[in-house]
């Protein structure tokens, strides 16, 4: 009896003296089903009404392809930019002291806290040809707002905290002795960083990159104001979903949604595998 009671093998739940399991789990699962699972299943099942050929027609529509290419391409580049600058920001926050460090640290979370629509109109205004930053680029013939570059700017804004917050705890916990070992073996600072530090923080950097990428792919609010939304040029995939909805093409909208989700999960899966591979030697 006691041995059975303590192995999960026999039953669904290990016995406990604490009450409330049925109530809390039942509520949580019911709530999860109504809010998340049922609606998401509608998304997955809806495109079925199109049939396979109808689905493929939506997918290979040149406007849809262009939008997907923009959404994923810009998100990828933005995540790369964020991986680079996010590493610098996390590094200076963990390793160095400088004035107003705490304020800078707090500001990193601004994209989490600032509503995307607010960020959107602010970025559109700054990077417009007559805006604070756009004005600097206009004479060079570079237009940022209302072009794919604008999309990139918005996605960089939205993704930065993911990289910084993924890296900070890992940099904090990095074993200083390992760096000292490298130095005492004659490595210079660059070699130490490249050969010792970078491999150690790589999994966290990948996590941050993946999170920033996933967020950027689906981002809507901060992008549409600055993007200009020209079909085939600066129209992102989420906007296309909204347009299809406005035309009451539910199945078409759902089809694009499913493709986006599938691509996102595929990317996350690949990154997950890469991560597992890069972590293969770590102790647990």
């Amino acid at each position: 009896m006691t041995t059975r009671a303590y192995s999960l093998g026999g039953g669904f739940k290990r016995p406990s003296v604490l009450p409330g399991f049925g109530l809390t789990l039942g509520f949580a699962v019911a709530y999860l089903s109504i809010i998340v699972l049922l609606p998401l299943s509608a998304l997955v099942l809806r495109p079925a009404t199109l049939g396979l050929s109808g689905f493929l027609d939506v997918l290979f529509d040149s406007r849809v392809l262009a939008a997907l290419r923009l959404s994923f391409g810009a998100a990828f580049i933005a995540a790369l930019v964020n991986a680079f600058f996010g590493l610098i920001v996390a590094w200076i926050l963990v390793r160095y002291d400088f004035p107003l460090k705490r304020v800078v640290d707090a500001l990193v979370d601004l994209p989490f806290a600032l509503p995307t629509a607010v960020a959107g109109i602010a970025l559109a205004t700054i990077y417009a040809p007559n805006g604070w930053v756009g004005r600097l680029f206009d004479p060079l013939g570079i237009q940022i707002a209302f072009t794919p570059l604008g999309v990139l700017v918005a996605l960089i804004f939205i993704g930065l905290p993911f990289v910084v917050r993924s890296l900070q705890p890992v940099l904090q916990d990095l074993d200083k002795e390992v760096e000292e070992a490298a130095v005492s073996l004659g490595a210079n600072r660059r070699q130490t960083f490249r050969l010792v530090i970078l491999p150690a923080i790589m999994p966290a950097l990948l996590t941050g990159f993946a999170l920033a990428l996933a967020r950027a792919v689906g981002e809507y609010g901060s992008v549409i104001f600055i993007a200009g939304n020209m079909p085939m040029v600066s129209e992102i995939a989420p906007l296309l979903i909204v347009i299809k909805l406005e035309q009451f093409d539910y199945a078409g909208a759902a089809a694009i949604g499913v493709i986006m989700l599938a691509l996102s999960f595929l990317i996350l899966l690949v990154i997950n595998l890469v991560q597992r591979w890069s972590r293969r030697h770590e102790e647990h």
Partner: protein
């Protein structure tokens, strides 16, 4: 390589870690830095390695001032307490690291690196484990990888921080003897930090006993064990009972007992402490005369009988060791009143004892 450190001072945020340390090690010597935690021994080792920089003092390797050189330029092999192996590199990659990061013009060819790595791995008896990762090794194996990695740069001096601290007792003993042989075979100059007196006594040619940022005594193991220079050294090396005494003209008075203290011939009626090792404490019959004490606890398991006694005068607890089968054994029973005399003591006047 000879090492000379003179007047090394170092403080961290105003807290002094080293207060004027002088230390010299000659070629081929194996020196132990022994002391409790916080005594500054690791700081000293790190300053020698160039991982920390002294606030003042001179540091000479082979007579050349290296105080301004960085860790990478000193050609010092450092073995970290927790090994600090590179987790994402194989054993072979760890060992070859120091050769691979050399400037291009001084870097050996890949073939040379490979053969040296193999030779080192054979030396530390890990020949077939070159492709493993550190997480796949036992503690003792990791320790040897760390050692091979440090030796790969052909260091003039090998520094080891608590080299056996993270290992279990059996592996520790084996590795200890093996390291000593390695040191002798390779004719290294080595310094190691330890808080384990047994380790220092067994392994080192000379021991520097450190306390509170200073070196209390440097000498051979026999020297520091049998002729401790200060009360601290006496207490730190081996068990000792501590008793208040008065010292007068080469004699120490402990309660009613008068014992020889020939090192203090010139002292006149000074307060001090007398140390007595447990095996030098002689238990006698209640009427035999001496310090009166009551037996509290008896531990018979072990190489000798250990007896805990409380002095009647002030309740102070003492520890005595009696060989199994000795006549004194008869006298010992819980709560029994006995008297204590001492075969040998070592007295220190308070000025030095403090």
């Amino acid at each position: 390589m000879t090492i000379t450190a003179e007047g090394i001072y170092k403080s961290f945020n105003g807290f002094p870690a080293l207060r004027g340390v002088n230390l010299a090690a000659s070629r081929g010597e194996f020196v132990a830095l022994l002391g409790p935690s916080g005594s500054g021994k690791t700081t000293l080792l790190r300053i020698l390695a160039g991982l920390e920089f002294a606030d003042s003092g001179r540091l000479l390797f082979n007579g050349e001032d290296v105080a301004a050189q960085g860790a990478g330029e000193r050609n010092v092999g450092f073995v970290f307490q927790h090994y600090a192996l590179f987790k994402h590199m194989t054993v072979a990659e760890n060992v070859s690291f120091g050769m691979r990061v050399k400037p291009r013009d001084k870097r050996p060819s890949k073939a040379v690196i490979d053969s040296q790595v193999n030779e080192l791995l054979r030396l530390v008896q890990l020949d077939r484990l070159g492709d493993r990762y550190p997480s796949q090794l036992s503690g003792g194996q990791r320790q040897r990888v760390a050692l091979a990695r440090a030796l790969a740069i052909q260091p003039g001096v090998l520094l080891l921080d608590e080299p056996f601290g993270a290992l279990d007792a059996k592996v520790r003993k084996e590795l200890r003897r093996w390291l000593r042989r390695l040191h002798d075979d390779m004719q290294l100059t080595s310094l190691f930090v330890t808080h384990d007196q047994e380790e220092a006594l067994e392994l080192a040619d000379r021991i520097a006993v450190m306390n509170d940022g200073r070196i209390e005594q440097i000498g051979t193991p026999a020297d520091v064990y049998h002729h401790p220079a200060t009360a601290f050294v006496y207490e730190f090396l081996g068990n000792a009972n501590r008793l208040r005494c008065r010292i007068d003209r080469g004699r120490a008075m402990v309660g009613p007992l008068i014992l020889p203290a020939p090192e203090h011939l010139e002292l006149r009626d000074a307060a001090g402490v007398a140390f007595v090792r447990p095996h030098d404490l002689i238990i006698g019959d209640a009427r035999a005369g001496g310090l009166e004490a009551r037996v509290r606890q008896i531990f018979v398991a072990g190489p000798a009988i250990r007896v805990e006694l409380a002095l009647l005068a002030d309740g102070e607890m003492l520890e005595a060791e009696v060989p199994h089968g000795s006549p004194a054994g008869e006298l010992i029973a819980p709560n029994k009143l006995v008297t204590l005399t001492m075969a040998k003591i070592r007295a220190f006047p308070d000025a030095v004892a403090a």
